[in-house]
Symmetry: C2
Subunit: 282 residues, 2 copies
């Protein structure tokens, strides 16, 4: 595995790979890798000749009161894990390498962002699509891999690729969970021991909601209330939202039908966690 910090080096090596007719899989991350990321890398490894992983904590997608500075970083460990997962090229630029001067182009996402996390994080997805656009141009992937834990991000990036005709396939990969059901997240390290014991109930609450729907309940509000009740009873966290939306369009549904997402965000003392289930109803 080679580690690259400079844009010019990356574009030069990517140019060679493309010229040789090799397929490229890209796994964009913010580092502090966990099994979720590594699952993306392994899938990319299976499906492409060359695997590029980027590690870049993108300042543009953090709000002024968010955790950009304190976002966990451990580059040495990441390097080892990426290599073990079969990554060929690890691209880890500094912010001034990605943004050497103010961008002449501002990108705004005008759909799929006014709910779930997007509602509470104005500008977040504008920052996401900007950095993802840059990474797509730099790495020129045939396939790009994103975890479905951030399902809204997958929905937005699908929209980006479709709207602007990027020549690549977006692959949303199933959320990786601990045995107890807790979704893997870089932010889990900020949970207290007690919170860690309670947090698996986030997923249990989503499953309780889904179970109700699968038993035939069509009223979205009842499914949401079931989920909220379970979260309140078992997780010891403050609920940020529970929403039930069509997927990937992310429009609210009253009567459950077709592919939907049941998603939640909850707050613990030092961490805000998100999780979701995507399922199909007749």
């Amino acid at each position: 595995m080679i580690v690259i910090k400079k844009v010019k080096e990356l574009t030069s090596i990517v140019g060679e790979k493309k010229k040789a007719g090799l397929s490229i899989g890209l796994v964009p991350t913010m580092g502090y890798l966990h099994e979720g990321h590594l699952t993306l890398a392994k899938k990319a490894r299976e499906e492409n000749d060359v695997v590029i992983m980027s590690i870049f904590v993108n300042p543009l997608q953090f709000g002024p009161n968010e955790d950009f500075e304190s976002y966990p970083r451990d580059f040495e460990r990441d390097q080892k894990l990426a290599e073990e997962a079969g990554v060929d090229i690890l691209f880890a630029p500094e912010p001034n390498e990605m943004y050497p001067k103010p961008s002449m182009i501002v990108m705004n996402v005008v759909e799929r962002t006014d709910r779930l996390c997007g509602e509470k994080r104005p500008g977040h997805f504008d920052g996401v699509v900007t950095v993802v656009t840059k990474l797509f141009h730099l790495a020129q992937p045939n396939r790009a891999y994103f975890g479905l834990k951030d399902a809204q991000q997958v929905a937005v990036i699908n929209g980006l690729v479709e709207s602007l005709n990027f020549p690549l396939e977006v692959i949303g990969v199933e959320t990786v969970r601990e045995e107890n059901g807790l979704a893997k997240s870089s932010r889990n390290v900020y949970l207290t021991p007690t919170e860690r014991q309670l947090a698996p109930h986030i997923y249990q609450a989503l499953k309780a909601g889904r179970a109700l729907a699968e038993q035939g309940e069509k009223d979205a509000e009842k499914v949401i209330n079931e989920t909220i009740a379970h979260l309140n009873e078992h997780t010891g966290a403050e609920i940020d939202y529970v929403e039930l939306l069509s997927f990937p369009e992310l429009t609210p549904v009253q009567t459950i039908k077709g592919q939907v997402i049941l998603a939640t965000a909850v707050k613990y003392s030092n961490a805000r966690l998100i999780d979701n289930i995507i399922f199909e109803c007749e």
Copy 2:
């Protein structure tokens, strides 16, 4: 030469060409081809394995009171000229092929647009960068060719490519002129016979301004005034603007130094014409 109307067909053939390691030159146009466009195509022919020309009158870059509907079109003639110029693939989509639904992504150009034509055409360059981004993703060119007659467009597209790391080279090609100096333009057909006789003085006026600067005049205002005087005396047109800016940054200069652009737009009865000279001063 093959003619393609559908996005899917284009991406499929472009995919084959890329896989075969061939280089691609793209010439984006709005059709009604003249020698300016054909010069771009010929240059692309010399420098690339495959030449793609697009013909697309992009509704997104026309304002509500502009000439989208009446913009001249002659596809049969264009087809013949493109083939003669060595184009391999002529991509001529309908608007609903390029914009099948409202875009989820809005792109805004936040520099280099608040003067010259950009000042009078709010949103124009937002529409330009959106369609150019889409065309770049569809045609995946190694090189893209634009005429320097619309120097502001070249400056904006250079900024687009730099800001978002597009993997391609933007090539600005010298303005093609009639023997009398009039810059070739699709809109020249709208000039009356008398206006056509006077219009070559637009270029003469720019040359008069440049001559003054080359004689040592450093005061931008005096050079602008010389140009205005010549325009007023000889062209019989209404002056929209005469500006002297740094190039490609397009910031106003008081004292002429370095690479600058002297640019003008004038209005005749049925056509607004633009022209410019880019030159270097010590």
